[in-house]
Symmetry: C2
DNA sequence: TTCATATGCAACTATGCGGTTGCATAACGC
DNA sequence: GCGTTATGCAACCGCATAGTTGCATATGAA
């Protein structure tokens, strides 16, 4: 539940593209998700390990392949973190508005 | 509106701490927000420039100080990006469930 | 068994990033 | 004007990260 680590994992276009694929598509293996990303399989594997480290993705070994699946729980936590920031910001603006309108 | 760049800016504990302060607090200058973060003013300035580059923060020059303010629009976009991923993921799970339940 | 496939591990390179220090500069108060 | 304060700019250091290649290994198929 380290928000910074989650955002850091999200902060790379290749990894975001992987997540988009996972959200859309069907089953993916490390090899199949590597295709079309413009990097080597090993490069893709490193990114997947970063995503797995942030619990944004799960890697499950199945025979000679490794299945990749999105883990939506961390996504939800990241979204909640931002939502809380926004709420506090909104409350601050409202408080400021009231302060001004009270003529004080 | 580069989602990866926004998340990258969010992916650092010091920068998240800055945003939390900005969401809570009153007016901040570069100097005042540097205090209590355990780094030099120049270090804080670099982080603020990263946040400004991602449009998460605005830096406004006022006399000899520079005012720092949260810009909630980029936060909202980042949250929307995650929400969209989650929605697509949910739809996929629902489709998969129906597929299984149709016995096909 | 034998071959092809999917993956894991290690080493290596280049670049980016967090952080610092030193110096220059501009604005406020006396 | 003069000292103080808040900031900007540049150079530098160390480490993490994105990316690669080469090789080893385990599994599925013929």
């Amino acid at each position: 539940m380290d928000a910074a680590a989650t955002f850091k994992a999200l902060g790379d276009p290749t990894r975001l593209a992987m997540l988009q694929r996972l959200a859309d598509g069907a089953a993916y293996t490390i090899g199949s998700i590597s295709n079309g990303l413009g990097l080597s399989r090993q490069g893709a594997r490193k990114h997947l390990q970063v995503l797995a480290g942030a619990k944004l993705v799960t890697l499950r070994n199945n025979g000679r392949e490794t299945e990749v699946a999105l883990d939506a729980a961390s996504l939800a936590r990241a979204r909640a973190f931002i939502a809380e920031l926004e709420q506090r910001w909104d409350r601050r603006l409202i408080a400021l508005k009231e302060f001004v309108e009270d003529g004080n």
